[in-house]
């Protein structure tokens, strides 16, 4: 499906499309926004596994409510709103929110996160450049933490360092990457 056909499908209205076209439109829209939706949810819950769970649940709700989607409007914004309710539902479960942040703080963050996620593509490109600048053995720790998705304790076991040392190293790596991303974005702008 091309951008053009997508736009015309949008303007034709999701409600008026036949079921096949509607499902195809949904698949395209939801497929194209998975990463940003994941980032949005993660920035509210901090834990990737929780974010995955919430993303799955959000996808289901999106499909159920797709008829309510207003064609021509911003699908990601609409999806983020639904995802936020799923975050709140998740938070209501005992001991489920890793950050333990209050609902009022989450409200503040959610509004900001919707804007931040719109910059995701630019930040991603910048990150791709910055990753190559990480030095060993930090680079190896980042790989272990994210590529193998092992927790800090396991990374520490593998690299033979203390948990605290690995945490500090990973934090330094993230900070270095953040600074690098800002530099890259500044350069681009």
């Amino acid at each position: 499906m091309t951008e053009e056909s997508l736009r015309s499908a949008d303007s034709a209205g999701g409600r008026d499309l036949d079921i096949s076209a509607r499902a195809e439109l949904f698949a395209t829209l939801v497929g194209g926004s998975q990463r940003k939706l994941f980032l949005y949810i993660l920035s509210l819950v901090a834990n990737p596994a929780d974010a995955e769970d919430i993303l799955q649940e959000t996808n289901l709700i999106l499909w159920r409510k797709f008829e309510e989607f207003r064609p021509g409007s911003d699908f990601l914004s609409w999806a983020c709103k639904i995802a936020y309710y799923e975050v709140l539902k998740h938070r209501a479960r005992p001991g489920k929110l890793q950050t333990g942040l209050s609902e009022s703080t989450l409200d503040l963050l959610a509004e900001e996160a919707r804007q931040v996620v719109q910059e995701a593509d630019l930040r991603r490109e910048a990150l791709a450049k910055c990753l190559g600048q990480l030095r060993e053995p930090i680079r190896r720790m980042v790989q272990l933490r994210y590529q193998l998705q092992v927790d800090v304790r396991q990374v520490a076991e593998i690299v033979g360092k203390s948990v605290e040392a690995v945490r500090r190293a990973l934090h330094r790596a993230r900070v270095a990457l953040l600074r690098c991303i800002e530099r890259e974005l500044g350069r681009t702008s």
Binding site: I19, S20, A23, E24, F26, A27, T28, G31, G32, Q34, R35, F38, L39, L42, S43, A46, P48, A49, E52, D53, Q56, N59, L60, W63, Q98, T99, G100, L101, S104, T105, L108, L109, E112, A113, V116, V117, A120, R123, E125, L127, A128, L131, G132, R139, R140, V142, Q143, R145, Y146, Q147, L148, Q149, V152, R167, L170, H171, R174, L177, L178, I181
Partner: protein
């Protein structure tokens, strides 16, 4: 940002990411986040990065550095593979949607509904990529069942099986592993870190970036990389593992017993750099033997489709190619096979005996894409001692032919002008010999077809230990009523290809013509027809064309060899 304690927010964000935020820290964080949008953005950017790293790197084979390619919009043709972390949950989620779609008759593309992150390029995640491919003989015909015209690179996904006939492919697995698979071979890609080699020769180089080692299952056990370069060969009930760098762990298949006793096979064995392990299963028992690693048995994974492979690819389709001895393959029979015609070789012993040793069948060739053999030549009485090769069938030269060879000359320990080192020769009787190319003990090249006359010297003295590309064109030509051979010759040192291909002889003429007969490869014949004059050095490739190639054709072959774009 002046009023925002960025460092403190990052620190607390780190605690949040790692799930170790205390109640006090949470309180501080909430206060900071409530203070201004800039503080919230600082916090969100940290978590955003955390998520992006998780998304980008999580279990995805990367193409460059730590990153992977940008994701195109999913298309209708996309298939939806499932990232491992989603697998347990996906049936629940996708199932609900899929069932709904099936009910409305749309199940056919249900997999398109959730094009998870690993399917963004369409189809199951690409775990490997065929980078180069080259034939070993004219019989090579397939790459995973496809035809020769398959375009590279070829993406491979979990479950792909490489079935090779007489060809070699070089592939990458993720960003840190390179492998070379030599046919006949069957290699299944079971996952990003797990291969199964049922048959063939596989060499693997694992880069330092590779975090988790790769495992290679074989019929006799599993080979696991512990940061290394190593080779595995398996055929029927035999297995060899050679380690060149680093360390490899070998775990035998369950239930294997060592021969000659009732010991249970050791549960695990580590093979260090420079070591090799050989297993042969006979009935229910397995014999186990350690030894030294032999790099010459394996092609180097980082060599690529280097010059010799490209040269071979360039000449194999040519109708005028009559015979090709490339000396590739794992066993002696395959190595001595004519890859184009019927003139297969067998070992022959010089009339003075075999000397100290036999031929060396596993030498690194002129580049990493190729292997070479070296006939043996006695330290004393070298003209009459040694072991070399001869065709089983008779060779008929016709009225024109071209010889192309990639060879190395190794000067004998006590060289003399009396030494004869024949690369290719036939003989009919005491006078009529067909020494297409020979050298004296100092590497001075020549041609002779009449044993009673001086050689036709080619103005090239080969430097000992250096690889050369040599091309000689022979035409039957009568001059002044006498039958003779017109010779045109070209050479290039592969140690310095910048000097290019040089024409060293143009239209030289020497009496006599190549007689039909068994062809000596890496040797000649004594006056009485006995095997003699073994070559001193290594032979990577030898090709015979049944017509006189033009200078342009030879230059084109040379261009393939050295990777230049052929001229008009």
């Amino acid at each position: 940002m002046a009023n925002v304690d960025q460092e403190r927010i990052w620190e607390l964000a780190e605690r949040a990411c790692e799930g170790s935020l205390t109640a006090d820290e949470r309180s501080v964080l909430e206060g900071l986040l409530a203070s201004c949008p800039e503080a919230r953005r600082t916090f969100l950017h940290y978590l955003h990065l955390h998520g992006e790293l998780y998304w980008q790197l999580g279990g995805v084979p990367s193409k460059a550095g730590l990153t992977r390619d940008a994701s195109p919009r999913p298309t209708k043709e996309s298939v939806a593979p499932i990232p491992h972390k989603f697998r347990s949950r996906l049936p629940l989620v996708a199932g609900v949607v899929t069932v709904g779609l099936i009910l409305i008759g749309l199940g056919g593309w249900a997999t398109n509904l959730f094009p998870w992150r690993k399917s963004e390029d369409g189809g199951p995640a690409v775990i490997a990529r065929v980078l180069d491919r080259w034939q070993l003989s004219a019989q090579a015909d397939s790459l995973a069942g496809s035809q020769r015209t398959v375009e590279l690179p070829v993406d491979l996904r979990p479950g792909s099986v490489l079935r090779l006939s007489e060809e070699v492919v070089r592939f990458s697995l993720g960003s840190a592993v390179t492998g070379v698979l030599e046919g006949p071979a069957v290699l299944a890609l079971e996952g990003a870190d797990h291969l199964r080699l049922d048959r063939g020769v596989l060499t693997v180089a694992v880069g330092e970036d590779k975090v988790a080692g790769i495992r290679i299952g074989t019929p006799l056990g599993e080979v696991a990389d512990l940061g290394t370069r190593f080779g595995v060969w398996t055929e029927g009930s035999a297995l060899e593992v050679h380690v060149f760098d680093g360390l490899v762990r070998f775990r035998p298949r369950e239930g294997l017993h060592l021969g000659g006793g009732h010991d249970i096979f050791p549960r695990e064995r580590r093979i260090a750099a420079g070591e090799a392990l050989r297993l042969v299963k006979l009935g229910a028992k397995v014999s186990l033997e350690g030894g030294k690693a032999q790099p010459g048995r394996f092609l180097h994974p980082n060599g690529g489709a280097a010059g010799v492979a490209r040269w071979r690819q360039a000449i194999l389709p040519e109708p005028s190619l009559a015979h090709l001895w490339s000396f590739e393959g794992w066993d002696r029979r395959v190595k001595l096979r004519d890859a184009r015609g019927p003139l297969h070789l067998s070992e022959v012993v010089m009339f003075g005996g075999g000397g100290e040793s036999g031929p060396d069948y596993f030498l690194q060739g002129a580049d990493p894409s190729s292997r070479a053999v070296m006939v043996s030549r006695g330290n004393e009485f070298g003209n009459s001692r040694g072991v070399a090769f001869q065709t089983g069938e008779v060779f008929s030269p016709g009225e024109a032919l071209t010889l192309e060879a990639i060879v190395r000359f190794d000067r004998p320990s006590s060289p003399s002008l009396e030494d004869l080192c024949v690369l290719i020769g036939t003989r009919q009787d005491a006078r009529r010999c067909g020494f297409l190319l020979l050298a004296d003990g100092f590497g001075q090249l020549g041609v002779t077809f009449d044993a009673d006359l001086p050689w036709l010297e080619l103005p090239l003295r080969m430097i000992s230990g250096q690889w050369y590309f040599l091309a000689v064109v022979y035409r039957l030509e009568v001059r002044n009523g006498q039958a003779g051979t017109r010779v045109d010759a070209y050479c290039a040192s592969l140690g310095d290809v910048s000097s290019g291909l040089t024409s060293i002889v143009k239209s030289a003429w020497t009496p006599g013509w190549i007689p039909a007969g068994h062809l000596g490869v890496g040797k000649g014949f004594e006056k009485n027809g006995a095997h003699a004059y073994p070559w001193a050095g290594a032979m990577d490739e030898i090709a015979i064309f049944h017509q006189a190639l033009s200078e342009a054709e030879i230059a084109r072959h040379f261009s393939a060899l050295v990777g230049q774009v052929a001229g008009p």
